[in-house]
Amino acid sequence: MAAADAPSATLRRRDLCNRGIRLARKMRSDIADLLDIYVERQGLDASASVAAVEGVPVAATECWSEQTGTQRLLDNLAAYRSFRVLLAQMLEEQREQLGDADTTLGRALAAVLLQVSAFTYHLEELLQLESCGPPSEEGAGPPALPRLSLFEQKLRGLGVLRELAQWAVRSVRDLRQLAKPGPGSGSAPGMAES
């Protein structure tokens, strides 16, 4: 069944993509605010370099323009499912460290976690429309980490939020590609031609 090509499916996809773009933009804005709060509350330097953290989905890609629509959705879905787990971990750690002493950071984390969950659901809907359905979540989360020191936890959290911010921008671009008329492969010029 070529559901993805039927006019109503095309309109539905475009509608979902446009809503997803709005979600991603709002998410990005809230992540930026959360980063400011996080850096301040955790006593970190905003410009501190954080090495790549195991288990955090990296938004950087060398083949963005060549991806098909389905690949974009799958990459996004895998990333946000991981972020959902990572943010929940951060929230738990924050509560362990600070208890009820800092509700501002806790509230900001919870708000972004909610948006990430909503966006994940949104991506699953889009994948349903692509007739491939979202993959199951078994084993899809980030690997279990050894217990980190408090400072390591803070740095890791900074890395998570920074990468999430990049993903929010990438998601807007991905959804825009997907919303384009056509089969939804949405390859764009711009990257180095091979």
């Binding site: 933009r25 990005r28 370099s49 990296v58 938004a59 950087a60 890609t61 060398e62 963005w64 323009s65 920074r162 990468e163 990049q166 993903w167 921008v169 990438r170 807007v172 671009r173 825009r176 590609q177 384009k180 949405g186 764009a188 010029p189 711009g190 990257m191 180095a192």
Partner: protein, 338 residues
């Protein structure tokens, strides 16, 4: 005999001693600068002494044996300075293709300089391809998008008198700045004395506006006022101004920005336009307005005696303050229609 000939670089303010090749100190020689004999007061034996050299002393210096006038030594003296810290700028006006870096020296050195640029992204060194023109620019292709890893660009400038360098560190999004919109056109709307239609095009350097759409910022003001009005437009490449002052010439500019990242472009070239007006009736007093005005109000034009409202009354809003003079004219119309 053949003479030594080479280029000699010296700093401004330095004391320079030139030997006449292999001639003894007590040999009789004559020195010239650019073909003109140099006074003996500048000589110490056969050595030429130039104290506290300045830029005007750059030139060709030659030493001749006293009796035979054989050329024994020749050098081209270039007086200059070591380079100051260069000014480096990097920008992406063609995202997501890549970015370019350009540089210049804050002050001239007066001698040749060479520039070397290195671009590091994480552990990877990237190639910055130098442009043929202008010479002080090179461009880099993005190999990755959406990276959190910063780019580190180091420019080193070297000349015969020294070297200097500067480093820029930035992330992918921060340097994105499109070129200004192109082909901005503004024109009046027939039979609409308060409207101006403005249209423009995406900058031609922006490679894929469909996938990476731009948003725009339009500013406009009548020439006679200093305060700009602003409109931000999230899509489209046209806009109709609906609150222009009738009959007043406007100046209009547009800027562009990627919808999600980076900074606003510079303002476009300014265009001028005046809203549509009816044929002027050359009215000079309110009394003439009441005698000659027709029943139609759609083409109302304030008479020349109408004063421009105070700036403070119109700053920042589309509403037009009603001036007392315009109020009189409106009252006159009311009387006429009654």
């Amino acid at each position: 005999s053949s003479a030594d000939s080479h280029i000699q670089y010296e700093r401004v303010g330095a004391d320079v001693t030139m030997k006449c090749g292999s001639m003894d100190w007590d040999a009789a020689v004559t020195w010239t600068a650019n073909g003109t004999d140099i006074d003996d007061s500048h000589l110490n034996g056969s050595y030429l002494i130039l104290k506290n050299v300045d830029l005007t002393q750059s030139g060709q210096y030659s030493c001749y044996e006293g009796s035979s006038w054989h050329l024994k030594y020749q050098t081209y003296l270039r007086v200059g300075t070591p380079p100051k810290e260069p000014v480096l700028m990097c920008r992406s006006n063609n995202y997501p293709k890549g970015f370019y870096c350009s540089w210049h020296l804050p002050s001239p050195t007066y001698i040749p300089n060479s520039f070397n640029i290195s671009v590091i992204h994480g552990t990877r060194e990237m190639v910055c391809e130098k442009d043929i023109f202008p010479k002080n620019r090179c461009h880099i292709r993005y190999l990755q998008l959406f990276s959190t890893v910063k780019y580190k660009v180091t420019l080193t400038v070297t000349n015969a008198l020294g070297k200097n360098s500067t480093t820029l560190t930035f992330d992918e999004f921060a340097i994105v700045k499109p070129d200004p919109p192109e082909s901005v056109v503004a024109k009046p709307v027939p039979n609409n004395p308060r409207r101006l239609e403005v249209a423009w095009q995406n900058p031609s350097s922006w490679p894929d506006p469909e996938s990476f759409p731009l948003k725009f910022f339009l500013r406009y003001r009548p020439l006679i006022l200093d305060q700009w009005q602003h409109v931000e437009l999230s899509d489209g490449t046209s806009h109709t101004i609906t609150d222009a002052y009738a009959g007043k010439e406007y100046i209009i500019q547009v800027a562009a920005k990627d919808n999600d990242i980076g900074t606003w472009s510079d303002w476009s070239v300014a265009v001028h336009a005046t809203p549509w007006t009816e044929e002027p009736k050359h009215l000079t007093t309110e009394a003439q307005v009441t005698e000659t005005t027709s029943a139609s109000t759609s083409s109302f034009v304030p008479p020349p005696t109408t004063k421009i409202c105070d700036k403070g009354a119109v700053v920042g809003s589309g509403a037009v303050a009603v001036c007392w003079t315009a109020g009189l004219v409106l009252a006159a119309y009311g009387v006429l229609f009654i």
